[in-house]
Amino acid sequence: MTDSIDPIVEVRDVHLSFGTTEVLSGVSFDVRKGGVVCIIGPSGAGKSTLLRCINGLVPINQGTIRVARFQVNALKTDAEKIALRKEVSMVFQQYNLFPHKTALENVMMAPIHVLREDPKEVRERAVALMAKVGLQTKQDAYPGELSGGQQQRVAIARSLAMRPEVMLFDEVTAALDPETVKEVLNAIKELAREGMTCILVTHEMRFARELAHEVIFTDGGKIVESAPPAELFDHPKQERTKAFLSQVL
């Protein structure tokens, strides 16, 4: 998995406990620039928590996380974390759009207030992004007026507006019905084909098989097996992987 070029995301021996419950027990993996990594596994395995550690929302107890030039576990002040989040964007399962702003405003807000870019330029870029995710007609709609799939695509556009290096997707299709799942996955496919570094926590095995460069199976806070999709899905080496796959496939 590791290349001669330095990976853009490096996770080394991360441990995290909430109280007495150990959520992550020694997780290590790398992601190269432009790589697509899918993390699969049973619920409660700490997958979403791992994503939140990568963009600094949750502090870790032990280990190191490096994203581009940021040593995430060493970031203390808000200002440092904000600098990190200009490079790493996250899309959530529940979309988390800001309900009091229109779709276009949602996309424009962060570049204007955080990156302090020129509002006119931001607007142009936002309109282009909305078209990219196929929602050019819904610019002035409020999130409450959009369907789940549409909201999720706006959320993706919102994250893209920050021009991140890495995008994290936290089970983004779990709350959607099968037809809308396709809309969203197509949008992510586009991104991956354009060379965006993506780390996805997902249950969509077909998507992982089609698009991922590497699939990581976690269980009980540890990485059980990690391999390119063809290998992992067709010839799993570990028993636990086999058991999990037989249940979900």
């Binding site: 959520v23 997958k47 979403s48 928590t49």
Partner: protein, 273 residues
């Protein structure tokens, strides 16, 4: 939501429930001592200390406070009983009854409590003759009735809200068991409402208790009037702060536990939609 985060996350300290503890009493007493200290600083040597003066007047003030509580109990009882009927009248099938009840409720809800008090003090006759017997109506009775009116209106609102929050399936079940509407209301619906009405009702009682001091403005002898008498008898400006803090403390000591208890009841009986 966050499916993958473990269920038993530690709660942040800011949302830990506040319990009435000894430390609260210590802080209160501390504030009182500071207040007295300030007052004591203004005392001319040769006069009795602030704490002595307060201790001297405490029995009188205590009797006044008990009278405030008595007014609150009577007003709450009358208001609650009337409020139940007014609340039930709001869901009557007869439009004039519904309309009349709604008007009455909003009339007494939107009027300031002090104005209603004045209303009753001036407009209720000082004696009434029933069946040849003349019954005098003392000032405190008029004040109690004056306080019972907004209580009635607020209880009606609480009752109406609680009745409307009971699902219609209950009414359907009752009528399919051949209960008539009145029986269904009083035997099935209202008993279920009692639990969910308890927190707002207790909140109302706390507000009412604090409003009993309004009676001092219309001339009823209760704790506030006694305090003002004590202050004018002592005629020392330094005592004003101490005495008013003292009165605040009495009411706080009575109402704060009720408020905490209400919060606990609210959490227990929260209506799960």
């Amino acid at each position: 939501m966050n499916v993958l985060l473990p269920i038993n996350l530690p709660k942040p300290a800011a949302s830990a429930p506040w319990r009435l503890e000894v430390s609260h009493g210590v802080i209160l007493a501390g504030l009182f001592v500071v207040g007295c200290g300030l007052a004591q600083a203004q005392v001319v040597p040769g006069q009795p200390s602030v704490l002595d003066t307060i201790a001297k007047w405490t029995p009188v003030l205590a009797k006044g406070f008990v009278f405030n509580l008595a007014i609150s109990f009577v007003a709450m009882t009358i208001g609650t009983m009337a409020g139940f009927f007014l609340g039930a009248a709001q869901i009557s099938l007869l439009a004039p009854v519904r309309g009349g009840a709604w008007l009455t409720m909003n009339f007494f809800r939107n009027a300031p409590w002090l104005v209603l008090l004045f209303y009753c003090m001036f407009l209720i006759p000082f004696q009434v003759t029933i069946f040849g017997k003349t019954i005098p109506i003392p000032d405190w009775t008029k004040a109690t009735l004056g306080l019972a009116l907004p209580v009635m209106a607020n209880v009606a609102e609480v009752v109406r809200g609680a009745i409307q929050s009971i699902p219609t399936t209950q009414w359907e079940a009752a009528s399919s068991l051949a209960f008539n509407r009145r029986q269904a209301l009083w035997m099935i619906i209202i008993p279920q409402c009692i639990k969910r009405m308890l927190p707002p009702w207790m909140n109302l009682y706390a507000i009412l208790t604090m409003s009993t001091v309004l009676a001092s403005i219309v001339g009823v002898d209760e704790m506030m009037t006694q305090t003002q008498r004590a202050l004018s008898a002592e005629a020392r400006p330094g005592l004003l702060l101490a005495f008013y803090s003292y009165v605040l403390l009495w009411f706080f000591a009575y109402c704060y536990p009720i408020a905490r208890w209400t919060v606990r009841l609210e959490a227990r009986y929260a209506v799960r939609q």
